[in-house]
Symmetry: C2
């Protein structure tokens, strides 16, 4: 700890001490006890709906003064249907299988000691997020399910909503006999609270920033503990020379337009030079019918003169919009090189009928999820069948790609003997 | 990247770019290709022994000027036997099973997509270490076996030895057709090189500091990428009221004295109040026969008046020496509380014949490895049967406890379909 004591720092550290104490209790609970607490919390969210909606009304009343856009106000707004979805989400998490306690490995050594690797909670997890108040519940509930205590730090624009939701969760957990401090929300949105959390590695085992690049950069540069990042999704689809072109059009259209504002949406289309003259006009027509703007390399523009010229910035762009960068590449090696150079190691796809080419692409593309003949939109915890998702990690350590409950756990080794000594 | 360009920073970043390029090649190699390269490197270490010993002689000649102690000079010194051990170690690693390519999970979804979770290399790993030149080979070889490229930054006092060993490894790898840049050693020991490595998260996926608390603190505070730390081992043995006291004496003596200077050696003995009057004189005699100094709490000193009074600092001490802190505790709960408060989450043991008490201790102690009726000295990759060890992680994310080859890998998801779209 380099920082000197301030009242705000002391306040954040007091939350840390309480979270650590709560985490020791959570680690010893059965799945049944945790599930009962989740169901109690879901009931409490419904019972406290009037208070939560009153709090949300305060945030909405301050939204214009806080400079929120129409889209941000929509994300901030709660109503009976959205609160019912929050409670329903909690009940769904309660119904999932608890990974804690799983025996991951079990073996004996020649000297007779038996070693088990057992899945355990991580401990205390800090979650720093921006506007949406439902994250308060989503994140805390996934962490509770896996026996972790959380310290939440949401954005200023949702502070009343977040406090009301956190109070309901705490009341529900306490009613079920769990420590209320399993979930704590920092009631101060000063930016310095992020620094104090990031420096508190004696209490926080992990920090997860959920927000824009500025927030992630701040956390990465300050954090002393592990950070799991959910950075850009600059996703590619490569149409190989042996692609089924109808399938390639369908996968391109789906990945680009089915929900363009999400991280697993397509941002750059790579087209093998061999089939560019056939394929590009087909796909361009389908995309333009759906309002997609195309930005092409010079070879693309020879075939699609109406495309906007692409610059280097387009290869690095996460548009999250109806815009698609298009590049003609000589072969599979050039496609892999482009993806490994400009991509964000998130989710990338090859479309081909050639199994050997597909396997080479799967092996050589260095991304969390690599697809053959499917939409990149399947890079998602729900689509993977995880039942829940805390995010999609663009890191390579601990968790990579879609993160479910399992990725919110650690492990420890239990070693049983009958007096073995080393000497 | 906040830092502005300097010649040294540019030099370190150039190594990063070359390591990333090499890592792409390494990720696609078969186990046979990697093993052939390891064997070639072992041969080359033997062939280049005269040059390596000449280089080592330069470091030894500068040792007094560099302020090395006798113990440090011993760790620095290479000879034919030690070089033979280095080469033999490389051949042992070649013989181990390669974890890369393992299918960790494999399932299909109702829409027909098939998802595989496949073990892959991490990518580029930075290793920052202090005096011992054999770490140059040990670390690089374990990383190469798992398909990772390394950037090594060793201490000033061993720079000539490290450069000579790295040159031999590079020549061996290259002779086997691998990129020499699979291993690069920074030929500059300016402290700023550590900062430049720690900030280079566009090239380095992981950084592992191997050295004292000062080095680890520097890396943790600067690093933008994940760090796996090998911090203190403040290891405990708790003698429960139902312990076999002869076994408890044997386990205490072994854990404290068999090799006191290592991280899994015992530092604090906790004794149940119920049996303290019987057990403490027995264990004190056995320990004193081996020259162990005892530092006791007031209740310990009532029974062992010769023990030095222990202070709070003793509960937090990693002595790495023939000194043992001793505390009488009321019960198992008090033992767990002491360990979770003062320990370093490394390796802790209970001695008891009561299985229920043992299981409670195993569940409640929040440490990487928790032992029942064995010496804590078994907390070790070799003793666990991993065949090799890069360190013992005191972190809870990615890797916890003894780290073998598996802990030097990441994973990715391969998803195969036949045209599935989300819409």
């Amino acid at each position: 700890m380099n920082a000197s004591s301030t009242p705000l720092r002391d306040q954040v550290r007091a939350l840390g001490a309480r979270a650590l104490a709560a985490s020791r209790t959570l680690a010893t609970l059965s799945s049944e006890q945790k599930n009962a607490a989740l169901l109690a919390a879901a009931d409490r969210i419904e019972r406290d709906a009037p208070a939560i909606l009153d709090a949300n009304a305060k945030d909405l009343a301050a939204a214009d003064a806080n400079g929120l856009t129409k889209a941000m106000k929509d994300r901030l707004r709660l109503d009976d249907a959205r609160l019912a979805a929050v409670a329903g989400g909690i009940r769904q998490v309660a119904a999932l299988t608890d990974p804690v306690g799983e025996i991951m490995d079990d073996w004996s050594r020649p000297n007779g000691i038996r070693i088990q690797q057992v899945r355990v909670p991580i401990g205390v997890i800090g979650i720093i997020y921006e506007s949406r108040p439902n994250v308060t519940s989503d994140a805390a509930v996934l962490c509770l399910k896996t026996g972790n205590a959380t310290i939440l730090r949401g954005g200023k624009e949702a502070i009343h909503s977040n406090l009301a939701i956190a109070a309901a969760l705490r009341a529900g957990f306490e009613a079920a006999g769990l420590p209320a401090d399993a979930v704590q929300l920092i009631d101060n949105t000063d930016r310095e609270t992020v620094r104090h959390m990031a420096e508190m590695d004696d209490y926080l085992d992990l920090i997860i920033p959920r927000g824009g690049a500025g927030l992630i950069e701040t956390v990465v540069s300050l954090a002393r503990m592990p950070v799991i990042k959910h950075y850009d999704g600059i996703c590619h689809t490569y149409v190989h020379r042996d692609a089924d072109t109808d399938m390639a059009v369908a996968l391109t259209v789906d990945a680009k337009t089915q929900k363009p504002g999400v991280c697993n949406a397509l941002e750059t289309l790579l087209v093998d030079a061999t089939i560019a003259a056939d394929f590009l006009p087909m796909v361009a027509q389908a995309l333009r019918e759906r309002g997609v703007e195309l930005r092409g390399c010079p070879r693309t523009r020879e075939l699609l003169p109406d495309a906007t010229p692409a610059t280097d910035a387009d290869w690095r762009a996460e548009y999250l919009d109806l815009i698609l960068a298009v590049r003609v590449v000589d072969d599979l090696a050039a496609a892999v090189e482009h993806i490994n150079t400009y991509g964000s190691r998130h989710s990338d796809c090859i479309v081909t009928r050639d199994a050997a080419a597909a396997e080479r692409f799967l092996a050589e593309v260095d991304s969390a999820a690599v697809f053959w003949n499917t939409s990149t939109r399947f890079s998602d915890g729900e689509e993977f069948g995880f039942g829940a998702e805390i995010g999609i990690s663009t890191d390579k350590l601990h968790a990579r790609g879609p993160m479910g409950l399992r990725e919110l756990t650690s492990y420890k080794y239990l070693v049983r003997g009958d007096g073995q000594t080393k000497a």
